[in-house]
């Protein structure tokens, strides 16, 4: 508790404009991330979950300042990075890196693996010299479980899992403190997915890394995260300790989301507990008034349509944005 958070986001918002003033309806504003606050402590894994379009990837890119933020503050090691210029950000980039979902799109097909991994070193440590950089590349290749002869090969010669290892090696090249992993295993086959999940866990332990793990696969997030934040339509609706959130969700959306995951167990009848949400996620261009989830919520009442619930702490580690949070068995 005494350890200062590595990253603090305060009321972060990100809007995109769509259309032009000549298109039908004119310029519209999409509130992709809407007033999000969170903290990431050193050494932990924060899981960001939600369905497609909920803003989890946008938030990840805001936190690493790959996107300009529209509002709010982002404190990384107590420095506000939300308003820094590109030049001011450059030295900070070494301490926060990103791993992307699609290992086919995030590696340049015309460059050798060794060059791909060396690129961040050449940018940030040009003074180090070729030999030192080459030594570091070999070290990184070994760290992520690839063989030294892979350095001279091109990305197309690798399978999806191996490519993801290359992406991780590149992200680790500058010895970052924080890794933002955006759906790092969702493009992989199940048997390979487990390898990468284990690799990330090993690396975290060995290098004392802090992760923000963005994924839509709830069982993977449950496996890797210490804490989770559940997003819906640009906002965090519930956050807390992973075990607690999964065992006793307090937000009706979290509950429905968890119950929708098909369980690979034939002994329990998954169907009985299933809460099927009706309808689709509303458009973030024109979000519902009040609680954004009220259009699909089983427990919605009149006040939910007008008053927007804020993310309020229900205990020291738990917060939920709901007027009528679900009771938890042990701490009601």
């Amino acid at each position: 508790m005494t350890v200062a958070p590595l990253l603090i986001a305060k009321n972060v918002s990100k809007c995109f404009t769509v259309g032009s003033r000549f298109s039908a309806g004119g310029v519209k504003v999409v509130h992709a991330v809407d007033d999000v606050s969170l903290e990431v402590r050193p050494g932990e894994t924060l899981g960001l979950v939600g369905e497609s379009g909920c803003g989890k990837s946008t938030l990840g890119r805001c936190l690493t300042r790959l996107y300009e933020v529209s509002g709010g503050e982002i404190l990384f090691e107590s420095e506000d990075i939300a308003r820094k210029t590109t030049a001011q950000l450059r030295p900070m980039r070494q301490r926060m890196q990103m791993v992307f979902q699609d290992p086919y799109a995030s590696l340049n097909p015309r460059r050798r693996v060794g060059d791909i991994i060396a690129e961040p070193l050449r940018v940030h440590h040009a003074d180090r010299g070729t030999a030192k950089i080459a030594a570091r590349v070999r070290e990184l290749i070994d760290l992520v479980g690839l063989a030294p002869d892979h350095i001279e090969r091109y990305p197309h010669e690798f399978s999806g899992g191996q490519r993801q290892r290359i992406g991780i090696a590149r992200a680790l090249a500058l010895e970052p403190k924080l890794l933002v992993l955006d759906e790092p295993v969702s493009a992989l086959d199940v048997s390979v997915q487990a390898q990468i999940v284990n690799l990330l866990a090993d690396l975290q332990e060995r290098l004392a890394l802090t992760y923000i793990f963005i994924a839509h696969d709830l069982s993977v997030v449950r496996q890797v995260s210490n804490r989770v934040a559940v997003m819906y339509l640009g906002s965090i609706v519930e956050t807390g300790d992973t075990e607690q959130v999964f065992r006793a969700p307090q937000h009706p959306y979290t509950q429905a989301l968890i119950s929708a995951v098909p369980v690979a167990d034939v002994r329990r009848d998954g169907r009985t507990a299933r809460i099927v949400l009706t309808g689709d996620v509303p458009s973030p261009i024109n979000p519902p008034s009040g609680c954004r989830f009220h259009t699909r919520c089983r427990f919605a009442q009149d006040s939910c349509k007008t008053e927007r619930p804020l993310l309020t702490a229900s205990s020291t580690v738990r917060a939920v944005a709901c007027h009528f949070p679900l009771a938890t068995p042990n701490s009601a």
């Binding site: 399978s159 999964f246 989301l257 929708a260 690979a264 996620v281």
Partner: protein, 325 residues
Amino acid sequence: MADALRNLLEVRDLHVAFRTSRGKVQAISGVSFDVAPGEVLGVVGESGSGKTISLLAVMGLITDPNAEITGSIRFRGKELLGASNKELRSIRGREIAMIFQDPMTSLTPVYTIGWQIAEQVRAHGPETAKQARDRAVELLTAVGLPNPGEAVDRYPHQLSGGMRQRAVIAMALSCNPALLVADEPTTALDVTVQAQILDLLARLRRDFGSAIVFITHDMGVIAEIADRVLVMYAGRVVERANKRDIFLEPRHPYTHALLQSIPPITGDRPRRLKSIAGTPPSLFAMPSGCAFGPRCTSRVAACSAVPGLTGEPAHQAACFVTGMR
């Protein structure tokens, strides 16, 4: 087993190979399976395991001139392999329908979904344009699309992913097919939408009595929807059994490892996931003998030959070590 009246579809010893610039590639080797009326057969496997190719062969949709397909595919006792396009057209869409992973591959962006469903209805029946349109509205209602009367005039880009998949399912159901082949129909969808689609498919099977072949890589989805399961690896069926046996008493080491590698959503979290070392083999560099051998922890000397499926008819596995149990 080979009871022609009992089984809707019987696939025997199906081989699919492609001639490529890098030599001949064997995509499917000796796949056999049956589908009984009204049952849900789950086909699981990783990418490249041949699950999609074997079903495309069944549908007569492999049109590549470099493909070599041998074996036997009987639908209601009628041989489909080698049947003319005209014969296939009368079966496809009417008696066997297919749903693909990405609904946009089966929808054209330039026509409304109502038009596209009506086209399918009129291609196989005597309906007039007006009747076909009414049928389209009826089908969209059946698959639970909100506001079907209005949705029928929408273009695919105006619908969300889940709504598009419902429209494609409506199209597939337009002729009350006896067999529905669903190739990863929920993989591109969010879990809450996936839950809706799985419920819909279960309801349709109840109401229309269609048999479903459900291709997926997700064991959770299999546990949810299938009656019987085929596990495929590197172009072969490595295990087949009813769902309960696959999950509770898997015989093939691959099935076992696959189940172990899924992070659980309830209960204790394992400190580490049990992963399968290595990657699935490339079709261009297939290991000799058992294709799973190089990744297998129970490997013995006998594994340098290709194992056949053994065991009682209801539960078979292709493994020298564990298959006989």
